[in-house]
Symmetry: C2
Subunit: 191 residues, 2 copies
């Protein structure tokens, strides 16, 4: 064993502070079970280098590397519309650092919008326990008109939509989506 | 080293007979570059058991397992519409064995259709070098009205659409999609 390396249980690590991801996963399950929307998180992209095959059915990956994702984490369909989003947490009480999102993820959301899909961001400020829905259009506007490396909380309060804590699903982002893009009368309906 | 296990280069293995996947990957790249459609293959779903972190940036996955996919391999957007499909090859000259597709993948395609998306299958008979586009509706009809464990080639010839070999992109499935669902006058347009 190489002593320079520290091996530990990935799941324990992965669950640390992953509550937004967990909440969205439960919401997606709720939407699927109640036939409201079909949304899945994409698997983590990896490059596989070595696999052991003790038998045909029991392959064990022995060496693999994480890849930079080229798209967002979530996509799916709601009322016939393609939806696509990224979910991120920050511990900051006042800003959302933009290095949390890759440039090609932003580009991807822009592409989705141009092709008639609905793109957005779900950002949770964990310390103050506030979760926002931010349309991709607003995110891109911010990036194009600002040089700052972070989005202030006030921008989310002004341009985003607070996702209120509910019992089930806890992060009901479809409720916001429905109001913004499907119930009419809102400027977001044109994306 | 455990001698019961055979370790070999995954990529060499992965490329064996993976030409349909490769062709679709090139087609998707072509569609993206020419701003025709945004379609990606989802990463292979795995369960990560052990990760080494020599440093923050250089994580190495040392133990992981392949998971049964709960959805299809490909999804994306074309002309505002959500599209979703699975691509499979068979060496058989006469039948496509249904154990190539998981039951929950078929269920997934059914869900997508019900929510107004376009679901389909791309099947290549490698030995006779024929690639078919089969609407999910036809696939589901076949499964519901047959007890056989495979779909005969003749069913594809009758109910599917031959994707002709082209220079670029080689597997132009969007061309079929366009004719079936967007140019009107075809019964597929209702999915």
């Amino acid at each position: 064993m190489n002593l320079r390396y520290k091996t530990f249980n990935y799941n324990t690590y992965a669950n640390r502070g992953m509550t937004l991801e967990h909440d969205i996963s439960l919401a997606n399950e709720y939407y699927r079970c109640n036939d409201i929307a079909i949304v899945y998180k994409k698997p983590t992209p990896i490059t596989i280098a070595k696999v052991n095959y003790p038998s045909r059915r029991e392959a064990i990956i022995k060496e693999a590397y994480f890849k930079t994702p080229s798209t967002t984490d979530y996509n799916g369909i709601y009322k016939g519309k393609y939806i696509d989003f990224e979910a991120k947490e920050t511990k900051s009480k006042t800003i959302f650092p933009l290095n949390n999102i890759h440039m090609h993820q932003i580009k991807h959301l822009e592409n989705i919008m141009r092709h008639g899909g609905i793109g957005f961001l779900i950002v949770r400020f964990t310390t103050i326990n506030k979760t926002f829905f931010l349309p991709a259009k607003k995110l891109i506007e911010f990036i194009k008109t600002n040089t700052r490396k972070s989005i202030p909380l006030t921008f989310f309060e002004k341009n985003g939509y607070l996702i209120k804590d509910k019992y089930n699903p806890r992060v009901d982002y479809i409720e916001i989506l429905e109001k913004l893009y499907f119930s009419g009368g809102n400027d977001e309906s044109t994306n």
